[in-house]
Every structure is written in structure tokens, then in C-alpha cells.
Symmetry: C2
Subunit: 305 residues, 2 copies
């Protein structure tokens, strides 16, 4: 069995952050990520990278963080009593990109690793992550490309991996109070340790780097699409849903805020501008109505071709 090694994961995640930032800067053409390095008193720290007012990216963050502690909170050990009395470390790369052009979807990706250790015992560890896409004016071919890339990433790891992590994504990114998905989904997984360490690690590498292949072609294809005030207003309105999901449902956001994480890094996922309008209903037959009718519900995207 392959050796659990958090230092290799940390080194990899930092190089992944570099790689994603490079790819996004290149796609943007003008914007540059600014970096804030920070330390956490209780252990750990991070590199928060933010790009604002790019050609393509209105606001976006690609963050690396490492958090460690001597004791897990009761909420964590209640479900997993084997974790009690262990020191722990968690590290990850998390990103959200809010583009200017409403024809480019907002996107999110995350890969993370958790390990809890105790002298003389085997470490308890798992990986988590995924990526998901939130279009405002979707093109079916973009959504199929996004999911095909996801399926290609998963294929070497087993026949059912895409189906399972795609379904998990649909279930996780669901706004119950709106009865709609956050977008068209992608991949989501947590507690991943069903394979040996190296295989699990290879899978999150494939997901992290695969995000670039999934997203950048959509940016390039849609960045010159012309749009007007109506499309911009609808984008701002739909960004309100992104805020609702992240603040009401997203476990990572809530855990971060409640456990005294670095607020500015966690809330980097918030959009630069969002609006709310009472009882907005898109005009029947409009592109806006199509988003709700055809896209904001779980479905088999690879069956469309």
C-alpha cells in the first residue's frame, strides 16, 4: 500500500494553484492575480490569489490553504469516533471565477486532503473535491464539453466514478428553497479513500488539472459574444442565487466562517456585484426562461450527442 504523505500533497497543491492561475491569466489576457500570504495563529496559513477587473474575469480567487490543529471539534468526532484524540491537518485549493460576460458561466473547483494522526496508529485520511459550472445563458455544447471532460477524467479510475460523482454534485449544489440546481453540475466527492493513497491522489490531480481543460475552452469560445444591459442584469440577478447557495448551504463556507477561518479568503467566492428582485419571472419563451426550464435540473448531459 502506498505511503500517506501530506507534504507531497501540499507541494502538489501549490503547483496546481500556480498552474491554474497561469492558465486563467493567459485566458484573460490582461488581468493578473495578486497574492496575499497569511498565517493562522492556531497553525497553518495560506496563499490567497485574487484577480479583479480583467478582460474576461470580473473577480475571481484561487486559494491555497493549510489548516492544522491538535484536537478536532466535537461535531467532527461525533460521526467518526476513531478521530478523537488525533492531531489533524487539512489542505486544499479552492477557486471561484466570476466572469464579466454573461455568456461565460461562473465556475468553481476545489481539491482537498484531510489527515488525522496518532502515534503508533495508521493515519486516517481522505480526499475531496470536484468542479461545477453555473451558466447564465448556457450553450448545450459547452455543457456537454464540461461533462465530457469530467467523464474523461474519471474513466481511468473506474466505470462508475463519473456517474457517482456527477450525481453527488447534482445533489450537493441544489438550492432547496428555490427547487433548482446551482448550475449544470460536474463532479463532487468527499471522504474519498476507497483506493490506495497514490490512486486517490492521482484522481484529485486529474480533477484539479482537468478543470483547466473543462473551463478555458468555454472562456475562449464565449468571451467575444456581445451582450447588452438585459443580459448583464440577468447575470447579476442569478449571481444572487450563488450568494444564497454559498451562505446558506455550502459546508466549506459555513465551517470556515464558524471555525474562525480567514473570512476574506473564504468569502472570495462572493460575486463582485449581485442583485435581488422580488418575484422575478423570466418572460415565457425567452433565453432566461430556457435556463430554468432546461438547465437547472439534474440530467444526463452525455446522452445529448
Amino acid at each position: 500500500m502506498s505511503q500517506v504523505n501530506i507534504d507531497t500533497v501540499i507541494t502538489y497543491l501549490q503547483s496546481l494553484q500556480d498552474k491554474i492561475c497561469d492558465a486563467l491569466e493567459h485566458a484573460d489576457g490582461r488581468g493578473k492575480f495578486m497574492e496575499d500570504s497569511w498565517q493562522r495563529e492556531e497553525g497553518g496559513g495560506g496563499r490567497t490569489r485574487v484577480l479583479t477587473n480583467g478582460t474576461v474575469i470580473e473577480q475571481g480567487g484561487v486559494n491555497f490553504s493549510l489548516v492544522s490543529g491538535n484536537k478536532l471539534p466535537p461535531s467532527a468526532t461525533a460521526h467518526r469516533p476513531e478521530l478523537a484524540g488525533r492531531t489533524w491537518k487539512a489542505c486544499g485549493v479552492s477557486l471561484v471565477i466570476h466572469p464579466n460576460n454573461p455568456y461565460i458561466p461562473t465556475s468553481h473547483a476545489n481539491v482537498r486532503f484531510f489527515v488525522a494522526e496518532k502515534e503508533g496508529e495508521e493515519p486516517v485520511w481522505w480526499f475531496g473535491g470536484g468542479f461545477d459550472l453555473t451558466p447564465f445563458y448556457p450553450f448545450e455544447e459547452d455543457v456537454v464539453h464540461w461533462h465530457q471532460t469530467a467523464a474523461d477524467i474519471c474513466a481511468p479510475f473506474g466505470d462508475k466514478v463519473y456517474d457517482e460523482h456527477k450525481q453527488w454534485c447534482d445533489e450537493y449544489f441544489f438550492l432547496k428553497h428555490r427547487n433548482e440546481t446551482r448550475g449544470v453540475g460536474g463532479l463532487f466527492f468527499d471522504d474519498l479513500n476507497c483506493w490506495d493513497f497514490d490512486t486517490c491522489f492521482n484522481y484529485i490531480k486529474a480533477v484539479g488539472e482537468g478543470f483547466i481543460d473543462a473551463y478555458v475552452p468555454i472562456i475562449n469560445k464565449r468571451k467575444d459574444t456581445e451582450y447588452g444591459e438585459a443580459e448583464r442584469q440577468f447575470q447579476l440577478y442569478r449571481r444572487g442565487r450563488y450568494v444564497e447557495f454559498n451562505l446558506v448551504f455550502d459546508r466549506g463556507t459555513l465551517f470556515g466562517l464558524q471555525s474562525g477561518g480567514r473570512t476574506e479568503s473564504i468569502l472570495m467566492s462572493m460575486p463582485p456585484l449581485a442583485r435581488w428582485q422580488y418575484n422575478f419571472t423570466p418572460e415565457q419563451g425567452s433565453s432566461e426562461a430556457l435556463l430554468y426550464k432546461r438547465y437547472l435540473k439534474p440530467q444526463d448531459w452525455l446522452d445529448k450527442t
Copy 2:
């Protein structure tokens, strides 16, 4: 002991909704509240009233709702086993006003009544409510006026009522992850049944109507204050905090969304437009810095005169 009567409370709350809407329309001068009446399948319904694009009010809602059920959720009966097996009704008026002019604070008020009944037993009941103010560019005299009005409302009900409900408000409207209060506070109370029914009812009447006396003079005093793009941008930025509070902390919002309440009525509290900016820090010595330094922490406002 005075008789518990929910019908009297409902009739009163609807007249309070009318009264507040009239006062706000008058203060606005142009905007009119539009009404949506709705029914709830599980019992109850409401009158949602929304004003948008007024002279003074950019977006605001004044909602009445009545909700009833045959069984309380386990979360409600865990703390109060005496409620198990009872039918219940809850009604209230709730409002949030987001003004155009950054010199007029955002304001919120709420009065509510809950009763759980069982044949042959005394009803279990309580009132709750309060009002709080969220300025962007505060004037000390406005804050003192707001709190003096609150203190005057409380005075007939006992020497300590203002102090207690003012402190409860400071504690409730606190953003832990920002280490700041939502605004300059006001009054907040829940589970109020320490006096007889009529006295408690009179207190929420005083709070509901007192909101008008607390807020309208501030609107009138500040509505013609000139402002520029910088003040507008700061207002939009600070409205982001309002969103954070309501979606992460506000019990009424979360309970409503989780229990299948009417989403559009509940999220009427969201601002028409809000923005987020990574690591924004106001310039030292600026009016924006003063908001954080002097206003967003609990303090005795009646000692300032």
C-alpha cells in the same frame, strides 16, 4: 389575567402593516407598495408588500404572514417539551427598507406572536420583535434619536426593558466572522410572556408603531443629502454584510427557508444590489473608517448627550 386571543393580534398586525406602509409611502413621496396575497398549503398565508424604485426607497418590503400547523418540528419541541402534541399558529409583520441615499440607513423591524394550543390546557404563547438600524454614513444625532425613541417606547413597561432589549439586539445582530455589529442596534426580544397577555401585546404595539417615529424623521432629515459614486459604492459594499448576516445568522430567515416558507417573501430582506470586494479597508481617517471605528460596536447611545 387577560385572555389570549390570536384573532385580535392578527387584526392588529394587518392594521400595523397598513399604517407602516402609509407612513413609508408618505415619506417616499412617489413609490407605492404593491401587494401579493398568498396562501400556504399547510395552513395560513400572507400579504407581501413591496416598494421598488421610489424617490427614497430603492427596494423595501413590509410583510404580514400567518403560519399554522398541527405539529411542531422536533427542533422546536426539544427545548420545550410542553409544546409536544400541540397545534400552533405564528403571525408577524416583518420589514426591511433599503434606501437609495447612502446617508439614509437601512432599517429592519419585526413584531411576531406565537401560540400553541391543546384542548383542556392553557395555551402556551409568546411575543417577539424589535427594530434595528444599519447606517452607512451615520450621524450621531440620528443614532441617539433612534435609541431615545426605543427607550421612550420601553419606559412604561419597566426600568430595565430598554437596557435588556437593547443588549439583546447588540448580541443578536452581530457578525462573528467580521467581529462587528450589523449596525447601531435598537431593540430585540423573543419568548416574551413575562407580563400578562394584554401588557405584552401593548408592548409590541408600541414597538411596531414606534418604528415609524424612530425611522421616518431620519429619512426626512437625510433624503436630500447629496452623494457621489464613492458613497454609493461603499453603500453597496456594506449591503454585502447585510446579506451575510441574513443568510448566515438570521434565525427567522433560516427557519423560514428550511421549513418551506415562501422564499420570495422571506428573501424580500435582500438588498436590490450588493457588492463584495476582496480585503477592502477604508482609508484611515475617512468617513468610511469612522463607521467601523465608532459605530459598529455595542455602546451606550443615550449617554452621548
